[in-house]
């Protein structure tokens, strides 16, 4: 489950009897959250799932004090190969990151492939090699897997699901419901790179940029942050599908607080701004695959920020805002003009299949 509980919004429940899944249910916005809440959470409900995090932390029976983290992620991206990565490296990084932002040290990955009949073996090998390389570089081996082949037309090339487990050091307690007014919101680097790289590499959009995906494994960065922040580090989350906007809204909703960020503090590459301008997108809604957001106590902010900047993947880390009191759980932004606006969940149809 990579969505949290949905905003507290008076709204119609889904029409389960005659409704159908549509693309907005997969876009990472409010409709996705509603699908998870009303279909999956209803069916699976338990203490771990109901925390609503991107990963679940659980005690290990028979091991006193032992705690682990587990996360899973399905990858259906198109195109399969893009500047800065491919579906294989993305599947490794994505799941490592979901484990790592839970504060855990990732240990092992499992992978399952759904391959469409007719898929070129050369492409499959290229993807597998890329996964192997990514997992070796991260030091998180792929230790088990499964492969299914479906008839032509029943899948689109290859879909990859990865599952990861990790171990939590004693005393590490991160969760999306721990943000409190006065806490500081940190961001590890520029936003929108992955989404724009994917969109640019889709031939039908007809433009090219120099932007490459930021896809990367963040577990070394998170380990440094855990060490530097101690109990002052409240939570971390990686703003993938739905972008920074969705992640901040998830945190605000889960913690029942407001968040206020400053537009001028947001690091966004000029090419990303330009591409978003052309496509009519807001960089705040565009996906990232190698960035994270952290909420820390004000007293720990400087130490955590310094630890982030010391890591190659956090060199451009900045404080982007603060947690405020707000029973409506709004994420607000002071614009570069000095006015105010809401930063809302993504609505509408972002281009499908970016992760």
């Amino acid at each position: 489950m990579s969505e949290t509980r949905e905003p507290r919004l008076r709204r119609r429940r889904m029409d389960v009897k005659s409704g159908r899944v549509d693309l907005s249910h997969g876009a990472g916005g409010r409709a996705s959250a509603q699908l998870i809440d009303e279909i999956f959470r209803d069916a699976f409900s338990n203490a771990w799932l109901d925390q609503g995090n991107d990963q679940a932390a659980f005690d290990v029976p028979l091991v006193p004090g032992g705690r682990m983290v587990m996360a899973t992620d399905a990858h259906v991206i198109t195109p399969l190969f893009f500047p800065g990565g491919d579906i294989g490296s993305l599947a490794v990084h994505g799941t490592i990151n979901d484990v790592a932002v839970g504060g855990a040290v990732p240990l092992h990955l499992a992978v399952s492939f759904i391959v469409e009949e007719g898929f070129p073996l050369a492409d499959l090998k290229r993807i597998a090699d890329s996964m192997g390389r990514a997992s070796r570089e991260a030091g998180v081996p792929i230790v088990t897997g499964d492969t299914k082949v479906v008839e032509r037309g029943k899948a689109d090339g290859v879909f990859i699901t990865t599952t990861g487990i990790g171990v939590l050091a004693p005393g590490v307690e991160l969760s999306g419901d721990r943000a409190r007014p006065g806490d500081v919101v940190l961001l590890s680097g520029s936003i929108g790179d992955h989404g724009v790289a994917i969109m640019a590499s889709r031939e039908n959009l007809g433009f090219e940029t120099a932007i490459v995906s930021d896809s990367a494994a963040l577990h070394r960065l998170t380990a440094a942050m855990v060490a530097a922040g101690g109990t002052g580090l409240k939570l971390m989350r990686d703003p993938t599908r739905g972008g920074l906007a969705a992640t901040l809204n998830e945190i605000a909703t889960q913690s029942r607080v407001g968040i206020r960020i400053a537009e001028e503090a947001l690091p966004i590459k000029a090419q990303v701004v330009a591409a978003c301008e052309l496509l009519g997108l807001d960089p705040l809604n565009v996906a990232n695959e190698g960035k994270l957001v952290a909420v820390v106590e004000a007293g720990a902010a400087e130490a955590v920020l310094a630890a982030m900047r010391a890591d190659p993947l956090g060199r451009e880390a900045v404080a982007i805002g603060e947690v405020i009191e707000d029973d409506r759980s709004f994420v607000q932004m002071t614009t570069s003009f000095g006015g105010g606006r809401i930063v809302d969940w993504l609505t509408g149809e972002q281009l499908p299949r970016i992760c």
Binding site: L23, S24, R30, L205, F337, G338, G348
Partner: protein, 384 residues
């Protein structure tokens, strides 16, 4: 980003805001309508409302192409998409516009209709070329800005001998809508709204020029400042309108001189004129039927007209009676005045079209501005 950042300079905006505050007469109330959804979006996205004095009020106008499309036309498009021979190519904005009984293109797509989201008319032409076995229909909507590309697509389709391409034409005309709002007190069809001036369209005016607005000064003693879509453009144009009021002038002025001329884009006008002709009357959501306010394909290009090719029958359907899109579109009400706003009507589950497009007044207020509602409500209570 060059040619954009210059128009989004926060410091300059605050300087203009200070000038507006200094020049606004505290004994007056200023009410200006921004006609275009693009302006609505810029005002909301940059929080410009916070930069204006309390007695300078912006009223959202009907210039959101998706918003003014009547529910019956949406139903017709859905029916067309259900035709097993048809591939409907559409701008993404239209996917969630509600038709009758909760239907929408995105739901029709989930149920099996072949609907493709495209960025331009050329994408639709390409689909038609790649799939000669499919009848590709482009769902053409919009004001004068999107009409020339539709005309170009028709000409291209003819030149390339495409027999499987057509357009479902819903192009509408800006001056007709402005006239309908200004004539409301006379015709009584719409609730009258006090407007002391308009922020005139930017992209539309790049096509049609500023001349078509002259008549509104002559006939209605109105003020029009054609304004760019960037936030600084909007601020400067508001200042220009305010000065006209203070000086007792009524005129058409052009703030957007970097793109708009009095005559407009003659080549685009000629292209549109070659392919399209005026409809006798067209139904607008909120504004009702307006004579000579929309276009259809000329007889010469009838073969590219989806309405004729598929013998489409007009569907008349009414909006949800609780939905205030109609009164919001003409500025008589504000989004938060609607009982459905934010309760059952949100961008995810829109009841009315104003909640769909980012240019719609309700979606803009929901997405960017609704944090102000509580302060506004308590201010209202304190005042009463």
């Amino acid at each position: 980003m060059k040619h954009v950042d210059e128009y989004r300079d926060g410091k300059l905006a605050r300087a203009i805001a200070a000038t507006i505050a200094a020049e606004a007469d505290p004994t007056r109330d200023y009410a200006f309508m921004e006609f275009c959804g693009g302006h609505t979006h810029a005002i909301s996205r940059y929080g410009l409302e916070d930069l204006l004095p309390a007695n300078v009020r912006m009223i959202h106008g009907p210039g959101c192409p998706v918003c003014v499309l009547p529910i019956g036309r949406v139903d017709e498009a859905i029916e067309l998409a259900k035709n097993p021979d048809v591939t409907l190519a559409t701008y993404a904005d239209l996917m969630r516009v509600p038709g009758s009984r909760g239907a929408s293109l995105i739901k029709a797509k989930a149920a099996g209709a072949d609907i493709r989201m495209v960025y331009s008319t050329l994408d639709a032409i390409r689909i038609a070329e790649e799939r000669p076995d499919r009848q590709v229909v482009f769902f053409a909507i919009g004001f004068e800005t999107t009409t020339p590309p539709s005309a170009m697509a028709v000409k291209l389709a003819e030149a390339r001998g495409l027999t499987n391409f057509s357009i479902f034409c819903n192009h509408v005309l800006t001056p007709s809508a402005i006239r309908a709002i200004l004539e409301a007190p006379k015709t009584g069809g719409l609730p009258p709204v006090r407007i002391q001036g308009f922020l005139g369209p930017s992209h539309v005016s790049a096509i049609i020029g500023t001349k078509p607005y002259d008549t509104f000064v002559a006939e209605f003693a109105q003020r029009i400042v054609v304004s760019g879509f960037e936030p600084l453009d909007v601020m400067q144009s508001i200042l220009m309108l305010l000065r006209q009021v203070n000086e007792g002038r009524t005129a058409v002025e052009n703030q957007y001189i970097r793109a708009v001329t009095p005559e407009g884009n003659r080549a685009a006008q000629a292209l549109v004129d070659e392919v399209f002709e005026l409809r006798d009357s067209f139904e607008w959501r909120g504004l009702g039927a307006i004579p000579h306010s929309a276009l259809r394909l000329r007889e010469r290009y009838a073969t590219f007209d989806a309405e004729r090719r598929f013998a489409m029958t007009p569907i008349v359907a009414s909006d949800n009676p609780a939905c205030e899109c109609g009164t919001i579109l003409i500025g008589a009400k504000q989004p938060a005045d609607c009982r459905l706003f934010g309760t059952v009507c949100t961008p995810e589950t829109p009841m009315g079209s104003c909640m769909v497009s980012s240019e719609g007044a309700c979606a803009a207020h929901w997405t960017y501005g609704r944090f102000r509602d509580r302060a506004r409500a308590s201010a209202g209570r304190a005042a009463s």
